[in-house]
């Protein structure tokens, strides 16, 4: 079997197993929508200023923000937790003893997560159009899709990397949420940090979520006149992804860590 066929086959089985657990599938999709609804209920009618003479309703901000959140949840959070659980359950060790190449197994997990991320973003965008009068920008669509892809790849890699510091499956949700939730609050995802102290913003700027959030906003900005690409932000996200990939390659454990 060719390499591509091996990876596709893994994605197929991951995908099948995912949809067999309807409760898990339902909440995977309901979760970001819930945030979209709540934030719009709370702040949706506020006018926010994106630039000189460019003010819009906060709903326009929330769609790319929740889209970014969806990618982070589907890729980083989901991979980190599910891989930790698979490792505890011995699934990874079993796979390790078969001729399936390690990269093909990982490609299956990453490919499946990326599909979920894309579906989530599409659902969030459609909900934005239907219920909150958000316009889908067409001229920045290539930038939006590529930003989405770079984010998905990078956050998957980081999700794999963090499993090497997660001691066991039960600890994984706590560790993963602790690593990601504070950043979601200070990275213009849940709320815009217009009046935050400078040091807090500087802290946020160390990590990839803030940069990803900015890149997604730019690629979804109705007032954007250029292509919508923010290569500086994308480079930071990509660099973190590369770091995650190297860390995962070096420290990833196939055996339960206890």
């Amino acid at each position: 079997m060719s390499s591509a066929a091996l990876a596709l086959r893994q994605i197929k089985f991951e995908n099948r197993a995912f949809w067999r657990n309807p409760a898990s599938a339902f909440f995977t999709f309901a979760f970001p929508l819930m945030f979209l609804v709540i934030f719009n209920l709370l702040f949706g009618n506020e006018e926010i200023t994106l630039g000189p003479g460019q003010s819009t309703s906060a709903s326009t901000f929330f769609v790319p923000a929740i889209a970014a959140f969806s990618v982070i949840t589907a890729c980083y959070t989901n991979i980190a937790i599910s891989v930790s659980l698979s490792r505890d359950g011995g699934v990874l060790k079993r796979v390790r003893g078969t001729p399936l190449p390690a990269w093909a197994y990982m490609a299956g997990r990453i490919g499946h997560s990326t599909i979920i991320a894309i579906l989530l973003v599409a659902i969030v965008a459609i909900a934005g159009v239907l219920f909150y009068g958000v316009d889908i920008p067409t001229n920045t669509m290539p930038a939006f899709l590529i930003t989405l892809a770079v984010g998905a790849a990078s956050f998957c890699a980081l999700g794999l990397a963090i499993t090497s510091v997660i001691p066991n499956g039960e600890a994984s949700p706590a560790i993963v949420n602790a690593s990601v939730l504070p950043l979601l609050f200070i990275s213009d995802i849940f709320i815009r940090l217009d009046d935050a102290p400078a040091w807090l913003e500087n802290v946020a700027k160390i990590f990839p979520i803030w940069h990803y959030s900015q890149a997604m906003q730019a690629a979804f900005n109705p007032f954007e006149t250029g292509s919508g690409f923010r290569f500086g932000y994308l480079a930071v996200v990509g660099a973190w992804g590369l770091f995650g990939l190297l860390a995962a390659t070096r420290f990833f454990s196939w055996e339960p860590r206890r």
């Binding site: 011995g90 699934v91 079993r94 003893g97």
Partner: protein, 337 residues
Amino acid sequence: MTSSTTTGSAAGAGRDEGRAEDLAVSVRGLKKSYGALEAVRGIDLDIATGEVFALLGPNGAGKTTTVEILEGHRQRDGGEVSVLGHDPRRGELAFKQRIGIVLQSTGVEPYLTVAEVVDLYRGYYPSPRDIDEVIEVVGLKDKRDERVLKLSGGQQRRLDVAIGLAGDPELLFLDEPTTGFDPSARRHAWEMIKNLQALGKTVFLTTHYMDEAQYLADRVAIIAAGAIVAIGPPATLAGREQAATRIAFHFPAGAPAIPEELRGAPEEARAGDTMAAPAAPNDTVELRTTDPTRALHKLTSWALDNNVELGSLSVTRSSLEDVYLELTGGDEVEGVS
């Protein structure tokens, strides 16, 4: 393939190559430590192709460490290991394609069905076995389209074996395949392993059940504290066939004393090769002898002459368990298994 893995003198290399043809596993001086704990201290093993080999020992004796080194899951500290002509340390694709591994505890996707899981894993091998054939061998035909999460513990264990077989391996590792089974599930598993033997597979089995090793294995090695203390066919392990036979019965109330000549077979006597005089009626009397025919004849003649009924009379050979307990000192080493 074999020549690249053999080293040493010309004579030694030639001998090794000759052996490697019909040896599935060859181990020399295998060592592994975890910190200060020496889990495996210099093991030698040769397993022939088509043989069912059991590594028997208490928990913590080094069974799993040994088998996981042979599978390529763990790195050894010292010694030579050749499995199907490969050094498992390298984790080569060609090696992984030829073995099947059933680990002590492993999980699978709970939401896939039995057939889907077998299909998923068989896809990793160049010439896999048929899905339904594998499911049949492990006796899960009725559960073919059942999701894994609906299977009982014993059925999941059989699925583990099905996955191990899916790639049609030449050598199958079974690490404590029946631990935690109820007696009937264990019987089923044994029949299944017997089926594998009939397929001509080499099976490397670890267990801490004597009866399992005795029933399944062509040869047994007993491992204790990281070293092999006995190796051979279960029937003759550690001189079992020459060991004293045990004759036991309930000493009847009011019977006359047992004649002196029965109380021992002084010639060829081993330690304990005598009969303890019963302290009280209905005590179990044990006679150990290397000449059971003669002893039994004398005993029953005496019983008939004195009109004594020998309750619960039994004649047993030294069991594998006796050998095992003697060799392993009966103590369990806690820690790494």
